[in-house]
């Protein structure tokens, strides 16, 4: 019994149903661990964690330069409840080129315009606290840290207006921290 010391020998090889279950469970664990390397080589969605250390001020300067060179318009936020992000510049990186988005209290800056089917190197970093890059309604999520330039090599395959939500707590305005990606 489970509550009293064992005085009889307790080693017995698994048998019968127990052996069957052990075998099946082990097999399932095998399948699950092999799925990840398989997807890494054959699947299209992976988080490789490519990142470079960067000072927040340097990342801001790079992003401002990117916006100055690639600005194509202005996004005005129509959501009345959201007072945090009223206006964002829209920048369009060249296909295959680098794009930058800053996470800061409480906006994702700037907005991007991308082309369907093209691939971009999207640089994400935070200027102040940790932020969560959550692209909706796709529901793709990546973590953003101050001091790290997190590079996503990303290919938009659907057109439309996409919203970046912040999903890591970053203070009182966190819920209203948004950004935009437009795909044409």
């Amino acid at each position: 019994m489970s509550l009293r010391p064992l005085t009889t020998p307790w080693f017995h090889a698994p048998a019968g149903h127990e052996k069957l279950w052990l075998g099946l469970a082990l097999l399932w664990c095998f399948v699950m661990s092999l799925m990840m390397p398989y997807w890494h080589f054959r699947g299209k969605q992976n988080s490789t964690g490519e990142a470079y250390t960067v000072k927040p001020a340097d990342f801001l300067a790079r992003t401002e330069k990117f916006v100055a060179a690639n600005r194509v318009g202005t996004f005005k936020n129509p959501v009345a409840a959201n007072a945090m992000v009223q206006e964002l510049p829209i920048a369009e990186p060249p296909p295959g080129g680098d794009a930058y988005i800053i996470g800061r209290m409480w906006q994702w800056w700037p907005a991007l315009r991308l082309r369907q089917g093209e691939t971009y190197r999207l640089h994400l970093s935070a200027l102040d606290l940790q932020h969560g890059f959550s692209l909706q309604p796709l529901n793709m999520n990546f973590h953003v840290l101050p001091g790290y330039d997190h590079v996503l090599t990303i290919t938009p395959t659907s057109k439309g207006e996409f919203t970046i939500v912040c999903n890591e707590f970053c203070g009182i305005g966190h819920h209203a921290m948004t950004g935009k990606i437009f795909v044409e």
Binding site: S47, T48, G49, S134
Partner: protein, 571 residues
């Protein structure tokens, strides 16, 4: 035995050792252990109530229609809820379980009363300090307190005190194991419940050391003495505390499953070797679980993420799947030996469903396995985490493990701990029989609501979803389920706390008699215990149930790969 004189012996059998003999089980109870089991369990339940009140406020805020709290108080109460539930309630109750597991089952006396006082004192002071600082508005940083967010130094100091106090309690546990063996308090191998508790204690030591490594430099930073630790480093080490502490819970919960199934239906492990090996798997393969929180982080590569996701082939998951079979298998064999042999599931109908400890443990197994386990392994798969990280799917998972699993199992245990240790019979026995069902229903609704809202992209730790202007009626509906589930679960929690406190104050005293029976299935005429000990095919019902579990697991797992394949290519 030869090294200790009789008066210094830590065997309860030695003369002069303060103890009593339990009128229900006939087992010896050490008075020192009993006192600290009482202190720690009651304190834990108080923090459970505080965390529960916070939970209700949060559920009523995330339910957008009600939206009760202001943004400021939502984040404050969310921090309070996380600390009180995940750290204070669980740690205090686990120390109580450890003190029980190293004394009564081993017929041993607690190693040291002074050490127990030191442990309890540090934990209690630290806990009060943390709660005060949070409610004073000086630590709106969430339980995780991710740098560069910064709280008042007392917040970190309080957590360090709780962690060190717990370590001191764990030391008392190990010391008791040692002196019990040295003084020959028991012969043979330690019982399975103590063995499981030992596994939990080992993981706790590793966990709390992680806590010290991360919290001490954060505390000195908050005092202005040292530079800011790196945020990525902080996340890696903090989750060595945050995630592993949940593995302590898993271990303790599984030990409680074995304990309750033994006490309520007389189940014994069908194969001690397998059950014990599974506990060893937890100890060996759980230690890098912190990686589960870094799967979409910058700075850690794919190889690191994949290896640490499955930490050597999912062997810790294998351990849970083993317990998920051996616990119900033990119950099935015990029931069949008692004569309930009709068909595949005749024994299920005869189980003591009105015994609150039994129903709590069974619901804990089901919720932990079918909801918490399946979602946890799937969301913690390296690539699938892209469509789950920091959404409400994550709390949808861990409310099914920590609350529907661990907390419910601990509640079940309390229905025996209070009569046996406090020696009072429960008041409101009818309410007690309903309580686990109500709590489990609420948590299941809450968990489903969170999981589905999260699948629609609703993030965790967010006061409001309307500011983004992108969430439709379905997301709002699922948040309504979170609110409703929260209300039901809180009602279940409140009934539990009122029954416990009411029993301590007004319950009928038990002196030298057995506690009032919650109901156990009687053995039918002409049956003998142990008659199926060598029948390896007696667990027909259990194997069908576990195969059903595996099928659900596979469907959910591959459906998530499909959902992942539908989003934009990224690497």
């Amino acid at each position: 035995m030869t090294t200790a004189s009789v008066s210094l012996s830590h065997s309860l059998a030695a003369p002069g050792v303060p103890k009593r003999v339990c009128g229900t089980t006939g087992l010896g109870v050490c008075f020192d252990a009993q006192r600290f089991i009482k202190f720690n369990a009651v304190t834990g339940i108080v923090f459970l109530l505080l965390g529960g009140i916070a939970a209700l406020l949060l559920a009523l805020t995330r339910w957008q229609t009600v939206h009760l709290l202001s943004a400021e108080w939502f984040y404050r109460i969310l921090t309070f809820h996380g600390i009180n539930m995940l750290i204070l309630w669980i740690l205090f109750f686990e120390v109580a379980i450890l003190y029980f597991a190293c004394t009564t089952p081993l017929n041993a006396r607690l190693f040291s009363r002074k050490v127990a006082w030191a442990s309890f004192g540090m934990m209690f002071v630290g806990a009060v300090m943390v709660d005060y600082v949070i409610l004073a508005g000086q630590a709106d940083v969430m339980m995780t307190s991710y740098l560069p967010l910064l709280a008042h130094p007392l917040f970190y100091l309080g957590i360090i005190l709780v962690a060190v106090g717990t370590l001191v309690g764990v030391f008392n546990f190990f010391a008791t194991l040692y002196v019990a063996k040295r003084d020959g308090a028991y012969t043979g191998s330690m019982p399975l419940v103590t063995y499981g508790a030992t596994a939990a204690a080992i993981i706790a030591v590793v966990t709390l050391l992680h806590g010290a490594i991360v919290m001490i430099p954060t505390f000195t930073y908050s005092m202005g003495w040292t530079p800011q630790p790196d945020p990525a480093w902080y996340r890696l080490i903090w989750w060595g505390l945050g995630h592993q502490s949940q593995q302590v819970n898993v271990c303790a919960m599984v030990a409680v499953w074995y304990l309750i199934s033994n006490v309520t239906v007389g189940a014994r492990p069908i194969n001690e070797a397998v059950c014990r090996t599974a506990f060893v798997l937890y100890v060996l393969f759980i230690n890098l679980a912190s990686a589960h929180h870094l799967l979409v982080d910058p700075g850690v590569g794919a190889t690191w993420k994949i290896w640490n996701t499955s930490y050597a082939m999912y062997l810790a998951v294998l351990a849970s799947m083993i317990h998920g079979f051996t616990v119900p298998a033990g119950v099935e064999v015990a029931m069949r030996e008692k004569g309930y042999t009709a068909g595949l599931f005749g024994w299920v109908a005869a189980l003591p469903w009105k015994n609150p400890a039994f129903s709590a443990a069974t619901l804990s197994v089901l919720i932990f396995g079918f909801i918490g386990g399946i979602t946890g392994v799937t969301l913690g798969t390296q690539q699938i985490n892209i469509i789950a990280h920091n959404t409400l799917r994550i709390p949808g998972h861990f409310h099914a493990t920590v609350v529907g699993g661990t907390t419910l199992a601990f509640m079940g245990l309390a229905y025996y701990v209070i009569p046996l240790i406090f020696q009072r019979d429960f008041i409101g026995r009818g309410w007690a029989r309903v309580q686990p069902w109500l709590f489990a229903t609420g948590i299941t609704l809450l968990s489903f609501g969170m999981s589905f809202a999260g699948s629609m992209g609703v993030s965790r730790r967010s006061w409001d979803i309307d500011a983004q202007g992108i969430y439709g009626p379905a997301a709002h509906l699922w948040l309504g389920f979170v609110g409703l589930g929260g209300i039901l679960a809180f009602a279940g929690l409140l009934i539990f706390v009122l029954l416990c406190v009411g029993t301590l104050l007004f319950g009928k005293k038990i002196e030298h008699r057995a506690m009032a029976d919650w109901g156990t299935p009687p053995a039918l005429a002409g049956t003998t215990p142990g008659s199926l000990a060598h029948d390896h095919y007696a667990t027909k019902g259990t194997i069908v149930l576990t195969l059903l579990f595996l099928a659900c697991f596979a469907v959910y797992y591959f459906a998530n790969w499909k959902a992942l394949a539908d989003v934009w290519p990224v690497r």
